[in-house]
């Protein structure tokens, strides 16, 4: 069909724009980290109470004695060969450590993020349908509370209530200490551990999506083409979901895209509070240890996720609104 070509062209152009973007992100990340005070050799030397000679050797071993541009050149060259370097703190390849931690984060964040996105949109549509009713006012108030609560505080409240007071759910980690039979009991065990941290993160994200959806839906429902849709004899559900929602979706997709970029920031808080063995905690540990290669590796992964999220958002834009691809 004729209409598909502009979309394809648009998508390819967006992907090509993303490549140099990632390159510049790497350069900037590298520079910023090396400009910050301290380095891994200082940290290791202070932890191990090493002699100045040992410290100097560490600097040479890590390549920190070379000028910054040389270090950057070496890093970029290795990067081209998919080598993210060697962690100074974990004493193993960066990529391995990241790949080790990534699944746990993906499980937590992907679950929380997708469920929260869908629920936020659906609840927002329902609230816009019953605008200014008692239920709508209560939902809006609750969403304000949910949105304003810091993740680490909400997490601690949930631990206090559900884990310590009611003793229904575990408070820390991803698996039970005493070990569970493999198969379904193990799956159930992970799910039980997943519930509280997922709710913690989902609350923040869902309330934001809810508020944007509700507001934009109200605006869209007041537009002229909604009257046309009703005059066709369509029932309310059709009008809401087929005509209003698709037009209201653009800002919602934007917010979901931006939030996806902040997923890692959210995971730092959530995983630290709940002792979840994922990327969020890895970021926290690596920054403390000034583990340059590790931090850079994580930042690269995070940056690529953000670029990817933006890319997907842009393409979704064009899919939702045909006018976007032509501009």
């Amino acid at each position: 069909m004729a209409g598909d070509h502009p979309l394809l062209r648009y998508s390819v152009r967006r992907i090509l724009q993303a490549v140099p973007l990632v390159f510049w992100v790497v350069i900037i990340n590298f520079t910023i980290i090396h400009l910050a005070p301290g380095d891994p050799a200082i940290y290791l030397a202070s932890v191990t109470e090493a002699t100045p000679e040992a410290y100097a050797e560490l600097r040479i071993e890590f390549g920190l004695d070379k000028p910054l541009y040389v270090q950057m050149g070496i890093y970029l060259w290795k990067l081209l060969h998919l080598d993210l370097g060697y962690s100074t703190w974990h004493n193993s390849p960066v990529l391995g450590v990241i790949l080790d931690r990534l699944p746990a984060t993906m499980l937590l964040m992907a679950t929380a993020f997708s469920i929260a996105s869908i629920m936020g949109v659906v609840l927002g549509v329902i609230a816009s349908r019953y605008s200014y009713s008692v239920g709508d006012h209560l939902a809006t108030l609750a969403s304000l509370a949910g949105y304003s609560m810091p993740i680490f505080w909400l997490g601690q409240l949930l631990i206090l209530f559900f884990a310590l007071y009611l003793d229904w759910l575990p408070s820390q980690g991803m698996y039970s200490m005493r070990g569970v039979e493999p198969g379904w009991p193990a799956v159930l065990d992970v799910l039980k551990h997943l519930l509280l941290p997922a709710i913690t993160y989902a609350t923040y994200h869902m309330t934001l999506v809810f508020r944007i959806t509700r507001g934009k839906m109200q605006e869209t429902l007041a537009q002229d083409f909604i009257l046309t849709a009703k005059s066709k004899g369509l029932n309310e559900r059709r009008v809401l979901y087929r005509h209003a929602l698709r037009n209201a979706l653009l800002p919602v997709v934007t917010v979901i895209g931006i939030n996806f970029a902040y997923v890692m920031a959210g995971s730092v808080f959530t995983e630290t509070v709940f002792g979840w063995p994922g990327m969020g905690r890895l970021i926290f540990e690596s920054i403390t240890a000034r583990d340059y290669p590790m931090i850079l590796g994580i930042f690269l992964v995070v940056s690529m996720m953000i670029v990817l999220a933006n890319l997907i958002t842009d393409i979704l834009y064009a899919l939702i609104d045909p006018r976007v691809a032509y501009n």
């Binding site: 209409g3 046309t228 005059s231 004899g233 939702i320 609104d321 006018r323």
Partner: protein, 327 residues
């Protein structure tokens, strides 16, 4: 007005309709005791200035008045069924099939993110038990009928890719796709270029011949209706002030407001130095004048006009005027 109890040709009969709007500054009596009739296959115009309540009358008839509107009294009989007593589902069944509506601004009354053809096909699919392919061919037929030069291309186009005149044709195709017995056109040409206006009016007349539907045309342009309508209702400040067949009304207007309207139209064989206008302004809708609502602007005002609102006087042969001059 002539209240013929048995009118076999009767299609729509509105009696004593009152639609009031609750707004922060008070109550707007947008439609205040309107009675009118439209017979089968007939073209009837409702003429008035902006804010006279003519669009609100149309929206109330199809029961799509805004949420702030209250219908205080009245009957809207379509084929002897009172639309005001129908439940929402039955009303949805009638919209698009029995009554269809064409709105003012083709720029904003089409859904911007749906292909034109799909928007029309939706009406067919909603009301008829047909396959998607069958619906598509019906839509292409309708497109041809409303004079769209390349139906297939327009079918796959989004509204922003079409001109204003073409969009209005799409909206008309949408309205006639299920062959309604009553087509309500609310200022269908106001937003269009003058040359396109004539084309659209001709199209509506032509379609009426072909499909044998009744046309209820709402407009502020009394010049527009002369050629195309059988009868005319003149509306002022929420009330019908005069009714007659088109020829009589133009030849011999009774109500001072109608006279004023006719005087203020321009025509090529009437060279004027100064534009004729009606003195004064449309009254504040939340604070209507006492007595006859036109009295502050009326050149023939008498004492009684300020105190009592005039009765609807039956002048015979279907003529009606609401004015103290003829009491």
């Amino acid at each position: 007005m002539s209240t013929t109890p048995e009118n076999r040709n009767g299609l729509l009969r509105v009696s004593d309709l009152r639609t009031y709007l609750d707004v922060p500054s008070g109550v707007i009596k947008a439609v205040d005791g309107v009675s009118l009739e439209v017979n089968r296959k007939e073209a009837v115009a409702l003429v008035g200035e902006s804010g006279s309540g003519k669009s609100m009358t149309a929206l109330t008839i199809i029961r799509l008045q805004p949420v702030v509107a209250r219908i205080l009294s009245g009957e809207i009989l379509l084929n002897d069924v009172d639309l005001l007593t129908l439940d929402t589902a039955s009303m949805c069944d009638l919209r698009g099939t029995e009554i269809a509506m064409v709105f003012q601004d083709p720029m904003t009354y089409l859904n911007p993110v749906m292909r034109s053809g799909a928007q029309v096909a939706e009406v067919v699919l909603e009301h008829q038990d047909v396959s998607k392919g069958e619906a598509r061919s019906q839509v292409l037929d309708a497109f041809e009928r409303v004079g769209i030069p390349s139906p297939r291309r327009v079918y796959d186009s989004y509204p922003h890719q079409l001109s204003g005149g073409m969009r209005q044709r799409v909206l008309i195709a949408m309205a006639i796709s299920c062959r309604p017995s009553l087509l309500i056109a609310d200022e269908p040409t106001t937003a269009l270029d003058v040359t396109i206006q004539a084309q659209i009016m001709d199209l509506l007349a032509h379609l009426r011949e072909e499909l044998q539907n009744a046309l209820f045309l709402i407009t502020h342009d009394i010049g527009l209706v002369a050629e195309h309508c059988d009868r005319i209702y003149i509306m002022y400040a929420g009330q019908i002030v005069e009714h007659a067949d088109t020829f009589t009304l133009f030849a011999e207007p009774k109500h001072p407001y109608t006279e004023g309207l006719l005087r203020s139209t321009l025509s090529p064989d009437k060279r004027v130095e100064v534009f004729e206008t009606i003195e004064g302004q449309v009254p504040n809708p939340t604070d209507m004048p006492s007595g006859c609502r036109f009295h502050p602007r009326c050149p023939h005002v008498k004492d009684i006009c300020r105190e009592e609102s005039p009765p609807s006087l039956d002048l015979g042969e279907g003529r009606m005027v609401a004015c103290w001059l003829y009491e």
